[in-house]
Structures are given as structure tokens and as C-alpha cells.
């Protein structure tokens, strides 16, 4: 369960003020997979960072007794001059309970990511598909109550995408996911509930279909980009 209480957040980027959340009070019930939709730049990634405890509200609280993963996406999470393998080592030594657990987690990442010799190449030389493979591999290595997934489901070739989906399905038998995606099919497949973000609002829908419909209406009415 994740409780938002009077949560407000303003983000400053390039000297511009962007309202992410305005006085939001909302409960996300336990055991539910949630998809987040909203226009580009509306603050979906920031919301994931807030839930993951990486970013802080300006006022109000977000309370949870569940463990959350780091926000898994293309940007952040990897140190560019380290190789994929070294980045995996870094995360594994942070989250593993002991040496055995660490070796096991590392093996899962290596096996799943299928990066071949690129596993030992600095991450800054990776394509976004390769970054997603590594990020996704890491997401499988540990058990969190909530996985926070930022767009990494919809990249790579078909074969890898299918494999990721199967792996995520298996993962969701024990965990839940909060997912940002522009791909409605992915959201429908994994999420039962949905959140629509718009202009500082965070609208929660019990059914992902309702959330997607609401988002589509906003798109039709106001267009795709929020400034």
C-alpha cells in the first residue's frame, strides 16, 4: 500500500517551473499493478522517483511499508565509464544479503541480459536497447514488493521483448509493478489499475482501461505535450 497525503511537488528544470503534484491525497492499494500514463514531460518519471524515495516532496508525505526497487529506466542507475558487469557488481553489492546471494544475482543479470562481450564494455557505449537489457536483468535479480519500471519494457527486438514479458509475468507472481509506458498493450497486459497525470493532478482508476480512456480524452482535447 502506498499512501499519498497532501503531496505536492514542483520540479525546476532549465530554470523553468513545472508542477508535478498539487496537494494529492490518494491511496494505492496493496497487491495491485499500476500503470502510469500522462503526456510527455508531465512528471511520470518524477513520480516514480518520489515513490522510490530518490526524490523528495516539497510538502506532504508518501508513506509505504513495502520495499520499492530503484526506478528502472534508460537514464540514471548506471555509471557510464564502468562496464555492464561492473555496474551489476555495484548494484549487487548494495542489495545482496551475502556473498552467495551476490554471486547468484550477478549470474541472473548476466544470463538474462544476453549482452555477450558487451557485458564487459563501458555502459556509455551501449545503445538504449542494451541499457534496457541490463536494467531489466538487474530488476529480476532482487525481490522487491514493488518494481518501478520506467519505459524499459518497450525496447529491443521482438524476441527479447517476449522474453522480458515472460520474465516479468513470472516476477509478478510475488511482486507488484508500478510502470510508466507509452505502450497501451503492455499496460493492459500487466496492470489492473491506472494513474493519469495531468497538470499537477494524479487521477487513480481501479481499471487500467478507464485510465487509458481518460488519458486519450486529455490527448484529444489538449494535445500531447505539457509545458
Amino acid at each position: 500500500m502506498i499512501n499519498f497525503k497532501n503531496a505536492s511537488k514542483v520540479h525546476y528544470a532549465n530554470g523553468k517551473k513545472k508542477i508535478i503534484l498539487t496537494d494529492i491525497t490518494q491511496t494505492i492499494p496493496s497487491g495491485i499493478n499500476v500503470g502510469i500514463v500522462g503526456n510527455n514531460g508531465v512528471g511520470k518519471s518524477t513520480l516514480l522517483r518520489l515513490i522510490g524515495g530518490v526524490d523528495e516532496l516539497d510538502s506532504g508525505t508518501i508513506q509505504t511499508n513495502s520495499s520499492t526497487s530503484w526506478p528502472m529506466g534508460f537514464s540514471g542507475g548506471f555509471q557510464g565509464s564502468m562496464t555492464g558487469s561492473q555496474n551489476a557488481d555495484f548494484v549487487c553489492s548494495l542489495y545482496a544479503n551475502n556473498h552467495e546471494h551476490r554471486a547468484k544475482a550477478k549470474a541472473i543479470v548476466r544470463e538474462f541480459a544476453e549482452l555477450g562481450e558487451y557485458f564487459d564494455v563501458p555502459v556509455k557505449k551501449y545503445s538504449s536497447g542494451m541499457r534496457a537489457r541490463l536494467a531489466f536483468g538487474l530488476s529480476l535479480a532482487f525481490d522487491f514488493d514493488y518494481l518501478l519500471v520506467d519505459e524499459i519494457m518497450s525496447v529491443g527486438d521482438n524476441q527479447f521483448r517476449e522474453k522480458s514479458k515472460r520474465a516479468l509475468e513470472q516476477k509478478l507472481e510475488k511482486s507488484n509493478v508500478i510502470m510508466v509506458s507509452h505502450d497501451n498493450e503492455t499496460l493492459k497486459q500487466f496492470c489492473t489499475a491506472g494513474i493519469v497525470m495531468y497538470g499537477g493532478m494524479m487521477l487513480y482508476f481501479d481499471k487500467i482501461d478507464d485510465a487509458l480512456r481518460n488519458h486519450q480524452e486529455i490527448l484529444n482535447q489538449y494535445g500531447g505535450i505539457t509545458i
Binding site: G77, Q79, F90, S93
Partner: protein, 262 residues
Amino acid sequence: MLHPLKIKSSLEIFFSAVGALLTRELYTRFGTTLGYAWALADTFVQVGVFVAVKELLMAPLVLAYDYTVFLAVSFLAYNLFRSVVLRSMPAYEANRPLFMYKKVKPFDAVVARFLLEWMIMLSSFSVLFAIGISLGKIVSPKDIVMTLFAVAWFSLFTFSVGFLISILGELSDSVKKVVDFLFTPLMFVSAVFYPASVLPAEAKKYVLYNPIANFLEFLRSAYFATLDTSNVDFYYMAWWTFVPLFVGLVLYAKYEKRIIAA
């Protein structure tokens, strides 16, 4: 599928984060094998140059202490200060993507860099010590306990200053530029390759406003039987240790989230 994640105490988290960051620094600090060699050779070369200058220009000058050892002690300490400060400044920038893991705090990155520079200093010391022994040069410290105390205090001082400057540099880019620029002349006014006692009274007064000069004098007084602490102001050194640390912690508490999210 795997073990459930253990809940770790905040101290455990701190140690695991610093450990992970230290490994990360080891991966990228030196680059090639030559990088390792250079990290160790740095002090060696400086000592060599100044010994050569002294021998060539002031050969008849007889000093009350072994000048080579004097230089080795001074440069090891000065280089620790320089590298801790200069490597702390970009510590946040270089580790920003890793702050995505909430267990990793910017403070941990500064601590990891400090520890790495300290380990490099220790390695350089070992190499120089070994060379010194094989040349029959080593004078052991006059007071081992006092020497260790001086090293510990000086290390804390380098950390405090490095930590404060890392935050100031994060808040303003011009701080970084000014600090980079200041390091060029700093060595000459820090009593690195001469003891403060050889300076004329007027110059000495100004050089001793430099806390590094005070620390080096203290360190060498503990090491060499023929040097003393008459030019050392311990209160002044304490100020320079605790004020930057305190101001740094206050600023850090205020700006931590900004450093993470920048």
C-alpha cells in the same frame, strides 16, 4: 526465486554503499596500468626533482635533517590534501547516476574518494619507505604516536576541506574554477619543501596563515628529532578542521536532495 531482501541498518547501508563506491572508484580512477604506476610515482618524482635542485644549487648547505626524507614526508601529506580536495569536487557529478539507488548518498561518494586517496597515499608511503630502507636513508619517526596522531588529524582536515569545497563547487561552478586555479601557487606557500623556520619573519607570518603549512610543520616536528612545533598554532588548526566540517554538514543537510536530483 531469491532470498527476500534483508532489512539493513543505516550503518550497514552506509558501509555497503561506501564499499560499493570504493570498488567503483578503483575501476575508473587509474584507467590503464600506467595509471597505477603514475599514482605511486607522483610523489617520488617530486622528491627527486627537489633533491636534485638542492644538490645542484645548494650542495654545500648542511641541514639538521635528511632533506630527502623531509621532502618525502611533506609531499606525501601535501599530495593527500591536493588529491582529496581536487577529487572531492567532481565526486557528485561523477556518481550522479548511482544516486538513483536510494541507499547511495552523495556523502558516501565523498567518503569513498577520500578513502581511495588515503589508500594511494599509504601505498606511495610504502614504496618510498622501501626505497629509503634500501638506500639506507630511513630515519624513523622521533615520536611514533605523535606522528600517527598528526597523520590522523591532518587526514580529518583534508576530508573537512574537501567535503566543504565539494558542496560549494556543486552550488557554483566558479568555485571549482577558483580552487583549481589556487592549487597552482598553493604548494609554494605551504612550507612543503622548506621548513617555516628558514623564512624571514615577515614572510613566515603570512605563510603560517596557511593551515597546510601549520599541519606540515606539526607532522615534521613529530617525525624529525631536529624540528619542533614552535611555529605551529594548534588552535588555528583545530578551527580549520572543525569549521569546514560543521559548515559542510549544515550545507549538506540543506542541499542533499538538490545534489541527488541535479
